[in-house]
């Protein structure tokens, strides 16, 4: 099948960097004003007030986090607001040494999926871990939210600065 492969002209990074080929750059500016909707609006408002809020479905009895106004499993409206705890268990984590633009970090960021206490099992959220030696992080570790001071909270997931081991 060799004859069925077209020998593409590959360019080296160097050729590109030295402008040996003609190229054009273009920058896009994209701005959006997103509506939060009811469930996420309540969730973000909760964060501003130092609370984590879920939503219960009476049919499958799950407590859903992040909250949603309909249950994707039962495909019916969810039924009530539920406060879940700001502690939980590390379900999985990473030690990340690169940013999105592939610049390198000396100290790793530690993203994790955390199963919150009071939510149904498996209802994890993504956040970061802090105040911990990266080498000491383990799956199954108990962690608790470290909140920003109330006056600095703005109704964002970052109102929780990070989760730390307890």
């Amino acid at each position: 099948m060799e004859h069925l492969v077209y020998p593409t002209k590959g360019l080296s990074e160097e050729a590109f960097a030295q402008h040996q080929v003609l190229f054009e750059t273009w920058q896009v500016k994209a701005e959006y004003a997103w509506d939060t909707g009811v469930a996420i609006g309540k969730y973000l408002d909760g964060l501003k007030n130092g609370r984590l809020i879920g939503r219960r479905c009476f049919k499958c009895r799950r407590v859903l986090v992040p909250p949603r106004m309909f249950c994707e499993s039962c495909f019916r409206p969810t039924d009530e607001w539920v406060d879940v705890q700001d502690s939980g268990v590390v379900k999985t984590f990473s030690l990340c040494y690169v940013r999105w633009d592939m610049t390198r970090l000396k100290e790793p960021e530690i993203p994790a999926v955390i199963d919150l206490d009071g939510a149904s099992r498996g209802m994890g959220i993504m956040h970061k871990l802090g105040e911990v030696d990266p080498k000491a992080v383990k799956v199954g570790m108990k962690v608790k939210a470290v909140w920003k001071p109330a006056e600095q909270r703005e109704g964002s997931i970052t109102d929780i600065a990070y989760f730390k081991p307890i």
Binding site: M1, E2, L4, V5, Y6, P7, T8, K9, G10, L11, S12, E13, F16, V21, T25, W26, V28, Y32, W34, T36, I40, Y43, L44, L64, V65, P66, E72, K91, T92, F93, S94, L95, C96, Y97, V98, R99, W100, D101, M102, P108, E109, P111, A112, V113, G122, M123, G124, I125, M126, H127, K128, V139, S156, I157, T158
Partner: protein, 388 residues
């Protein structure tokens, strides 16, 4: 089910490279030309075209499949784009299949093109906006986080070591040394090379992951009647399946791709495959990361949960093993131009089942293979079963 049989009758591709001088249209044109040449057909004999290509953000061109359409041979023809993120390359041939199986068309050109290199400073930027705009993006995530979190969940669940997983990268990069289109073939690479590579997002190291790639692949599909006129060696699309998991990805069991299992069950049922482990002779699961091959082999029901690493260690998945896996060299070896990489797997099954894979040929006259891809917000499984 009252559907017509559909065969793949031709295939062609471009070499996969880190940065191609050719434009996306030109890459598509080269792949299509090779595919038509392979079955001695002309564009006039093509009834319709399906183009698979992943995020518009790679090219910075909105509606990029329309922009690419001339290169795909679509001028003046019924045309549609298939797009399920990384799953696209195995979804596009499923779309081509139903165009013909339904009786609407007799022939279909399936083209997958990807040029990731234009995105600056790095194509990872194109994925920043896949994270939830309210609950995740403010944390400053990058795409590697998701893979690293999933890989760690898989390793933790079954007590796996990095060495257990790195052997997949070694196998595929070695296999790719025999692929004429490969970007990363390396016949001498070792597990130690993988373990010594830069840590990006532990447990993901540089050689655990396939790189940014440009390339294109094209297939010609035909109905039973046309296929038998065109070739004495048609390769039949025996089954297709696809399935989507929830977008709340942190609410899933990250150690097992249930959506791949669901897609596979649909494809196997259509193909009459009741015992995949016995009836599948070659597998081309999606391997953008080494752990994904293992994850997907389990989802495809080819190994028990958590047992794919052990089978790999025993050599079962080598090209001359009991179940050759990614004999092409996969994404880890041939390269990963997203949509094109998936269709490369279908092309590999086509060549393997016809006995035309040259130095990559799997021994023992294989009769049936399965290819699979995965994508969207790591939630879609796309599966195609092919046989001769």
């Amino acid at each position: 089910m009252g559907m017509r049989r559909v065969a793949v009758v031709g295939a062609g591709m471009t070499k996969f490279v880190r940065r191609a001088q050719e434009t996306g249209r030109e890459l598509a044109w080269e792949a299509v030309s090779k595919a038509l040449e392979s079955c001695e057909m002309s564009l006039e004999q093509i009834d319709c075209v399906v183009m698979g290509t992943a995020p518009d953000a790679f090219d910075g061109v909105h509606m990029k499949s329309e922009w690419l359409s001339d290169g795909a041979g679509a001028w003046g023809k019924p045309y549609m784009r298939g797009y399920v993120g990384g799953g696209t390359g195995v979804f596009a041939p499923a779309q081509g299949w139903y165009h013909i199986a339904s009786g609407l068309f007799d022939t279909c050109l399936v083209v997958c093109e990807e040029k990731m290199s234009p995105t600056q400073p790095h194509p990872q930027a194109a994925f920043n906006s896949i994270f939830d705009n309210f609950t995740e993006r403010a944390l400053g995530p990058n795409l590697l986080w998701i893979f690293a979190l999933e890989m760690n969940a898989y390793m933790s669940r079954y007590g796996l070591k990095k060495e257990d997983i790195a052997q997949v990268a070694v196998k595929n990069k070695r296999n790719a040394a025999d692929h004429p289109a490969s970007l990363l073939g390396d016949a001498k690479i070792t597990v130690q090379d993988i373990l010594n590579s830069e840590v990006m997002a532990w447990p993901v190291q540089r050689l655990d992951v396939s790189p940014v790639t440009d390339g294109a692949v094209a297939l010609v599909l035909a109905s039973d009647t046309v296929a038998r006129r065109v070739t004495s060696k048609p390769v039949w699309i025996e089954g297709v399946g696809w399935c989507l998991d929830t977008a709340y990805w942190t609410n899933r069991d990250l150690s097992y791709p249930i959506y791949v299992e669901e897609a596979a069950r649909r494809a196997y049922k259509m193909a009459g495959v009741t015992e995949p482990r016995k009836q599948i002779n070659i597998a081309e699961p999606y391997d953008p990361f080494d752990y994904k091959e293992l994850h997907h082999l389990e989802g495809l029901l080819l190994f028990e949960k958590g047992k794919a690493p052990e089978a790999t260690a025993l050599g079962v998945t080598q090209r001359n093993g009991d179940l050759p896996v990614c004999p092409s060299g996969g994404l880890l070896g041939v390269g990963n131009p997203i949509a094109a990489a998936g269709l490369m797997k279908i092309a590999e099954l086509f060549w393997q089942l016809r006995g035309e894979a040259g130095r990559r040929q799997v021994p023992g006259d294989p009769r049936r293979g399965v290819a699979q891809a995965w994508g969207d917000l790591m939630q879609v499984g796309t599966v195609v079963v092919m046989g001769k």
